[in-house]
Symmetry: C2
Subunit: 478 residues, 2 copies
């Protein structure tokens, strides 16, 4: 009988990247594949993505968004139609040039995003104001052949995402919708992932290639690197002009449509792992856990029958949760404790011979590792409360960490110190590209995350001494 389970061998605080790599592999979330930068989503991580999809589908449906599927491959001529767009994406496009033994006449891009292939059809489908708004979403796979060091989930050459593409009759509608989408993303990150984020607008330098503006949610990982969680782009009429997408309004006048696009990817799974995990391994927020409660019977030969019977009763009692009874006898209870801690299962219930006499169980929370005795009659209520507590605890911890990491600065020296200590510098900024480039240079790579949507700028930009036009966050970033 295998009595030990190899856990995580490094501390999160001491060697974050090794810790992260061990967690995603040992908790069986992902595996490195034979293609550098591409990973296998094992069932535990794919379950998370499926759960997020379900929730997103519900939210999007309320907005009248329908799901569709557009081709994986985009002809080069189509990809090149919007000038800024192709400039932004061409360095990382994977090209299909051959089929069987035949060289193709035109190279085909594997979609790095689907604006160009979708809008070719939008032009055909949109004729009249009656056809608007058109709101489509697709869940699909994306290839962006980055040459930076890949990290599972956080930076992979292939990833899964949803990309939504809405077209409207008016500028006002598209502006409002772009914000609405960001609110939905924020809700999903908070309520499912237990992840807080800074909401704002990307700088001109960092916005999506082809957008008028890009909104984003950004958060800070425990290793002091910030990361973009998702984006919502107002494309204005940039693409409708490039693709000639027009409609006849009620006065029979031809107008270009107003568009946005918005994406949320499996990168968020990596954010979840990095944010919540600890030295024992993964911690999955309860709403994304395929197993929310694992029951482990403590088995001795003489009491085995009774313990298993009670364990099954408890399983039935908790049928409204994602419950798993691990009654395997070729693994010891101790091995199982380690296994489910490593895998981040929110609650463990232990049931032994002493417990069944007292009609109780031992309940262990994964986040705090606190152990308690719970009477079986109180169990259902207790589980509900504990799952909520775990979610809130994870969220609040991450929120406190994010809040504590933001430091207001007003000179380059402090900015450099803050950014290089793994924190986020908050500044009043002119929003100019030149200052942004100077910051990057002077802080050894600090990048703008986004610009607050609500806070008003005060005074001057300390870099150029011109009027400050926004309150922005800068940090080292993925």
């Amino acid at each position: 009988m295998k009595q030990t389970q190899e856990g995580i061998t490094v501390k999160k605080q001491e060697n974050f990247s090794e810790w992260y790599s061990q967690v995603i592999q040992k908790a069986e979330l992902a595996d490195y594949s034979k293609v550098s930068g591409c990973i296998v989503f094992r069932p535990s991580s794919y379950y998370i993505w499926e759960t997020v999809q379900k929730q997103m589908n519900e939210e999007f449906r309320k907005l009248g968004v329908r799901n569709a599927y557009f081709p994986l491959l985009i002809p080069e001529t189509l990809l090149k139609k919007e000038a800024e767009h192709i400039k932004g994406f061409s360095p990382e496009v994977a090209w299909v040039t051959q089929a069987g033994d035949t060289k193709l006449n035109e190279k085909l891009a594997i979609r790095p995003t689907s604006e160009t292939i979708m809008y070719y059809h939008y032009k055909k489908w949109i004729r009249s104001w009656k056809d608007l708004p058109l709101k489509l979403n697709q869940f699909n796979n994306i290839i962006r052949w980055e040459f930076q060091h890949p990290i599972p989930f956080l930076r992979t050459r292939e990833f899964l995402w949803q990309e939504g593409h809405n077209a409207f009759a008016t500028e006002k509608e598209v502006h409002k919708d772009t914000l609405t989408i960001l609110d939905i993303y924020e809700k999903i990150l908070k309520e499912l992932y237990a992840i807080p984020a800074l909401k704002g607008k990307k700088s001109e330098k960092e916005k999506f290639a082809g957008a008028v503006y890009t909104l984003s949610l950004e958060t800070l990982l425990p290793n002091g690197k910030s990361i973009q969680c998702c984006t919502s782009h107002n494309l204005g009429q940039n693409f409708s002009k490039a693709f000639d997408i027009t409609y006849l309004n009620k006065d029979e006048k031809k107008q270009y449509v107003w568009q946005n696009s918005w994406g949320f990817s499996t990168r968020t799974i990596g954010i979840l792992v990095a944010m919540h995990g600890d030295d024992r391994g993964l911690i999955i927020p309860p709403k994304l856990a395929e197993i929310q409660v694992v029951i482990i019977p403590i088995i001795f030969d003489d009491t085995k029958k009774d313990v298993l019977k009670k364990a099954n009763e408890v399983k039935k009692l908790l049928k409204n949760y994602n419950i798993y009874l691990d009654a395997r006898e070729d693994y010891s209870a101790g091995w199982k404790f380690n296994e489910y801690e490593l895998k981040g299962i929110p609650i463990r219930i232990e049931i032994g011979p002493k417990d069944i006499k007292k009609n109780q169980v031992i309940l262990v929370r994964r986040d705090t590792l606190k152990k308690g005795i719970v009477k079986i009659k109180d169990l259902n209520k207790n589980i509900e409360k504990t799952l909520n507590d775990i979610h809130n605890n994870l969220y609040n911890k991450a929120k406190k960490f994010l809040g504590d990491s933001i430091v207001k600065v007003n000179n380059m020296n402090d900015m450099k110190k803050v950014i290089n200590s793994g924190k986020i510098a908050k500044i009043n900024w002119c929003l100019g590209v030149k200052c942004e480039e100077l910051i990057k240079e002077r802080t050894d790579g600090g990048k703008s995350l986004n610009i607050s949507l609500t806070e008003k700028a005060q005074g001057k930009c300390f870099i150029c001494n011109n009027t400050a036009n926004g309150v922005a966050y800068f940090a080292k970033s993925y």
Copy 2:
């Protein structure tokens, strides 16, 4: 006000391929894309696929199958590991050779199926009998660059599917499981698509490249061409030997695993369209209909308010169905009737001023186009029954057509006649490849569909005069 809606302009019987092309476009199921052979799945067809996915997930979960996601790209060396497999697929592989401006060191195949990329990992994950069975499924996109004339859904270079890959400790288990999967496919085709099919084993010539044997479901489309609906392959130890996937059994002895793989694709959407549609357009089987019942109020200025009120009441009453009230006033009722017939919505309810006085509605079935009056108090029960009736009617019609199209033959002349009249020839066959090739030649392209799993062969193969080993079906085929 646009008062007419352009319907299907050709008869299904007279020009099937033009009819099919019009239906998929005008009913807004799909659109031809800029990449030849690749289509857009518009929301109406993608909804069908999402519904099928849900049902499949339920069925697969009962078998202990979990969903995962493996990389899109497969290195050439990996794809080549199983000799028969690469021989079968290499002519239609799309190759990525370039990323950005950089030529790749090794060509990467876009998955034509995922055995090779998955089993590289199975080797790592499977160590002991405790790791078996391993059952994984993925829903993903596939590219097979066929050079034949593409047809939306039925033959496309990119398609969506699920591919399941199970590994077992014993030959007995894999054999049983391969059959179980075929039963699930049969159930889904019958209960969701209303499609009957012939269940059997593919010939040696037609089996999957790398399989020991392939099971399939085959049906006949109204244009007299048969089509493979889905397949379940017993791979034996062919891949476990090529990929060195072994486990230690309870006696600590190393054994190769036994594997199967099984796939069901969006081709089935095309089968549904071709099978059930009529001269007015699409007919969607009720269980796959995003709108099962459409309510169309008959609006006149003086009674508008009352009619809309009643229409909304009816909508509420039928909330357990996928119900849509089309109250748009910029389209006439007549236009809407045509629109929803074209789109194949199973039931139409008309509510006019006369009806509200009598507490009744007009109900029109899409399959038979029969019109009836239903009292509102009986409506819920009537809808339930009518949706069932429609499903059964579609299935029974298709089943009768399939049954009527099968003709037993025992000489090449009759076989040629049957096959060239768009029917299925049923023969006692030696199962030899030589006879199969001879049939193809002599019948202008007749192919074996599959070999019955239940019927016993009688007498001799009329081609070679050797003992018949199976009862097989031959036809012209996609």
